[in-house]
């Protein structure tokens, strides 16, 4: 069973707050990803990393930022949350491509 953890599972915050969504994996995977998904809609890649100190933006523009200081940790930060950021955020990791992506349980973010 894959070991990738996201916290918090649910988060309700007010507009303008700074938040960090945590993602950690214990599999030693080099590649990690953040996806954003609205209810009933497809997943959109917003950030990815192929190793420590590497981060790239995905195909969906996002106001969030990420960092990759340690292999196992890939946090996502919103400096000033807005209602338009309300969504589910899913973190994933992989060791290359064979064997596929392992996803966390997601963080459901609601910005009031």
């Amino acid at each position: 069973e894959a070991d990738i953890y996201q916290t918090p599972r649910y988060l309700v915050i007010g507009t303008g707050k700074k938040i960090t969504l945590e993602c950690s994996q214990t599999m030693g995977h080099d590649k990690m990803y953040w996806y954003q998904q609205d209810p009933g809609m497809e997943l959109h890649l917003i950030h990815y990393s192929y190793g420590v100190n590497s981060t790239e933006k995905g195909d969906l523009s996002s106001e969030s930022t990420v960092s990759r200081i340690r292999t196992e940790h890939f946090p996502l930060t919103l400096e000033s949350a807005r209602p338009s950021h309300t969504s589910q955020y899913l973190c994933a990791s992989s060791e290359g491509w064979l064997g596929g992506l392992f996803f966390g349980s997601g963080t459901q973010l609601s910005v009031l």
Partner: protein
């Protein structure tokens, strides 16, 4: 990265075999095809992966014709718990930027 096209939705009944086809006309030589299953409020879960011909595991089979421009996920004898969204991806082994398509929403009825 090959763009994929799938039917938006499919209906089936318990006990039937379900086949979901994915088109990837511009698939590259190094691309593998991977299928995922997603339940509401959860992250997608890996089902099966293949490069060509046929791959089978304990939950599904994957059929890929010689030209590799499409693939078919086959779920034998579906149950109500197989109701989910199914995604196919075609990407190479670098896997640096993995983009999901719209997926197929499968509804299994009693």
């Amino acid at each position: 990265l090959a763009k994929t096209t799938q039917p938006i939705s499919m209906d089936s009944y318990e006990g039937q075999e379900v086949n979901i086809t994915c088109s990837h006309n511009n698939i590259a030589t190094n691309d593998y095809i991977t299928w995922y299953q997603q339940f509401p409020s959860q992250g997608p879960r890996f089902i099966i992966q293949g490069y060509k011909t046929k791959v089978t595991n304990e939950v599904a089979s994957l059929f890929i014709p010689a030209d590799r421009k499409s693939s078919t996920l086959s779920l034998p004898r579906v149950s109500l718990s197989d109701t989910a969204v199914y995604y196919c991806l075609a990407a190479d082994n670098a896997g640096n930027m993995l983009t999901f398509g719209g997926g197929t929403r499968l509804m299994v009825k009693p």
